[in-house]
């Protein structure tokens, strides 16, 4: 693991559970003539640790329900972690009050998935972009606010004159640019992007990806990039983390991960990407479906579908171990040299 002092953001054993059992009444069950109380807990993120280095793009990939979006929202402070620590440049931020979190709000920002839901339909684009500037710089003059917003709009490729329009007057790609602009107006150094392009068409995806890469270059941004699209991740990332059912399976540099995946789940996932001109038959077939995060399997969460699983995998939760090339892999099989 990288040195804590150099990391921009560190996650230490982060756990996030959601209690969805509802009120006390819903928890009560009549079983065998006795009333029992049963909680229903979604284990969205389980014991995830990694560092994000300044200037890199760390992507988190996984199938739907694997907890990658929850992880993103826990990092940015939308959810409060159930356990573990989140450190920003060495300072703990996961237990701060709203007021204590305020200084970090200008340093960390977020870009959302749905370009239609992420902009308030009742506010003009200019109002949407000016609000964070005014909020974080009380007493700033109107002219300064306008100038700052106009500069950012220019940068992301939205004509500042269009600020008087409402979001519904823009196309999906343009909205996503506005959404990026809203994150950038407070001049952050770290951006969490939760599936920022998955709701867009292919030709628009390329535009937005290019914009994100340009912004990273110009502003020296660090990205935590959440996506389920592996080919996009391969293209944009410095390092990639693979999640399955709330647990981290593998974290490696993009080249290592896509060149020589080590974790059986990563291997299966990569083989499933439809490659243009590739052959379809080469898929590694996984048996069964993804279990629900409500009743987690014992031991390794992947053992039910893993072709290499043995008795130890059912019993013992694998720890993430560092390999020679710096990758982290959480698998007994890799550790024992079986896989």
């Amino acid at each position: 693991m990288t040195n804590q002092n150099t990391a921009l953001l560190s996650l230490r054993n982060v756990v996030k559970h959601f209690d969805i059992s509802g009120g006390l009444l819903d928890q009560l069950r009549l079983s065998g003539g006795r009333i029992t109380r049963k909680r229903t807990v979604v284990h969205a993120v389980n014991d995830v640790s990694f560092d994000i280095l300044p200037g890199e793009t760390l992507s988190v990939v996984g199938e739907s329900g694997c907890g990658k979006s929850t992880l993103a929202r826990t990092v940015i402070g939308l959810y409060r972690a159930t356990g573990g620590e989140i450190l920003y440049r060495g300072e703990r931020i996961d237990n701060l009050s709203d007021a204590g979190m305020l200084p970090y709000r200008t340093r960390m920002q977020m870009v959302f998935q749905d370009p239609y839901a992420s902009l308030n339909p009742r506010m003009k684009v200019r109002e949407i972009l000016e609000e964070p500037v005014r909020f974080h710089n009380p007493g700033i003059s109107d002219a300064d606010v306008r100038a700052r917003v106009a500069a950012v709009m220019e940068q992301v490729g939205v004509n500042p004159l269009w600020g008087v329009r409402y979001p519904h007057e823009f196309s999906g790609g343009q909205r996503q640019r506005i959404s990026i602009a809203r994150a950038l107006v407070v001049d952050p150094e770290f951006i969490v992007a939760d599936e920022p392009i998955s709701a867009l068409d292919v030709s628009i995806q390329a535009q937005v990806l290019n914009l994100m890469m340009d912004m990273q270059e110009q502003r020296n941004l660090t990205y935590l990039f959440i996506s389920h699209d592996l080919s996009v991740v391969e293209h944009i990332s410095t390092r990639v983390a693979v999640m399955y059912l709330g647990s981290l399976c593998e974290l490696a540099s993009a080249a290592d991960l896509f060149g020589a995946p080590r974790h059986p789940y990563t291997q299966a996932l990569l083989s499933a990407i439809p490659r243009i001109g590739g052959k379809a038959a080469a898929h590694i077939k996984l048996s069964g479906d993804v279990p629900t995060p409500i009743n987690l399997p014992s031991g390794c969460v992947f053992h039910g579908r893993c072709p290499h699983a043995n008795e130890r995998c059912m019993r013992e939760v694998p720890k993430a171990r560092q390999l020679a090339n710096g990758s982290l892999v959480a698998c007994h099989g890799v550790e024992e040299g079986r896989v």
Binding site: G23, R73, I76, G77, L78, D98, M101, L102, R105, M108, Q109, M110, F112, Q113, D114, A117, S118, L119, N120, P121, R122, M123, E131, P132, F135, H136, S179, R182, V186
Partner: protein, 306 residues
């Protein structure tokens, strides 16, 4: 201001309104009814509240065009000799006043409760929604009738007259607020999940500001839609209460109490005392309902397709 006016004139709202003859007609009808009610003292030939003006000898005069009609009384008189036309104008004013007032009250309580319940803690939500459930499980009529009975009993008929209007506003307002609370809560819950709210939280805005500035404006469309229907319902509720003798007293009649006062004479030949206020009541409610219908279709594009 001029710019706003111009934008309104070019808006799709106005365009589709003008293209719908039913909407235009009902709007015109509503404007005529409402303005003649508001300006009742100007239009009405007599003042029905002024006892000195009323002569019991004029009672049950038929409308002008019937045998025995009196040119002074266009639509005839009621059983006390009041000019029916004037009484209807004044009565409509009372009905509208109570309807709008009650809805304003429902909306105030309902929006507050809905916002708190949708955006507040789950426990608060549970408490507020249970109260709303209980309130809803008694239909508003029942609550209103019961409270009406109690208040009339405690105040006595004489003093009841003075408090009738605020009381009816209060009772109809209290009876129907859960409609608003549920509508607002449902759309707050839907809006709360949207990413623009999360974006506002990532900016660091305070919950109150998010609730007020970001969520509330996005819940107003359904509020607008149910408001029209609620005004119509409130007017009908008032009429029903008055018809049961628990609403406006006959000395200060609303449309409902006019209908009631005529009911017992209806089958003995004096049909006009009930018929004319009844028709006006129906036209008033119908025009509001038609407008509400159009508004709902306009604001809900899913239904707008057909």
């Amino acid at each position: 201001m001029a710019g706003l006016l111009r934008r309104f004139r070019q808006s799709y709202f106005l365009y589709s309104f003008l293209r719908d003859p039913v909407a235009v007609t009902s709007f015109a009808l509503f404007v005529i009814l409402a303005s003649s009610a508001l300006l009742a003292p100007v239009f009405a030939p007599h003042n029905p509240y002024d006892g000195a003006n009323i002569d019991i000898m004029d009672a049950e005069t038929p409308p002008l065009w019937k045998d025995g009609g009196n040119p002074a009384f266009l639509l005839g008189t009621d059983n006390q000799g009041r000019d029916l036309f004037s009484a209807i104008l004044y009565g409509m004013r009372v009905s509208l006043l109570i309807g709008v007032g009650a809805v304003a009250m429902q909306a105030c309580i309902g929006i507050m409760v809905g916002l708190l319940s949708g955006y507040g803690s789950r426990r608060l939500d549970n408490i507020l929604m249970r109260i709303a459930d209980v309130q809803l499980s008694f239909s508003s009529y029942m609550v209103a009738i019961f409270l009406g009975a109690i208040v009339q009993m405690t105040f006595g008929v004489g003093r009841y007259e003075q408090v009738a209007v605020p009381f009816l506003v209060l009772v109809i307002g209290l009876a129907e607020w859960p409609q608003y609370a549920r509508t607002v809560r449902a759309s707050v819950l839907a809006e709360k999940k949207k990413e623009y709210v999360e974006a506002a939280r990532v900016i660091g805005l305070k919950p109150f500001r998010i609730m007020w500035r970001h969520i509330l404006p996005n819940t107003l469309t359904p509020v607008l839609v149910i408001s029209t229907v609620q005004v119509a319902n409130a007017i009908m509720s008032e009429a029903a209460l008055s018809f049961l003798g628990l609403g406006m007293p006959v000395t200060k009649p609303s449309l409902g109490s006019l209908i009631k006062s005529g009911f017992q004479y209806f089958f003995s030949g004096s049909w006009w005392i009930t018929l004319f206020p009844g028709v006006v009541l129906i036209l008033l409610v119908l025009s509001i309902n038609l407008l509400g219908d159009w508004l709902r279709d306009f604001l809900n594009p899913k239904l707008y397709k057909d």
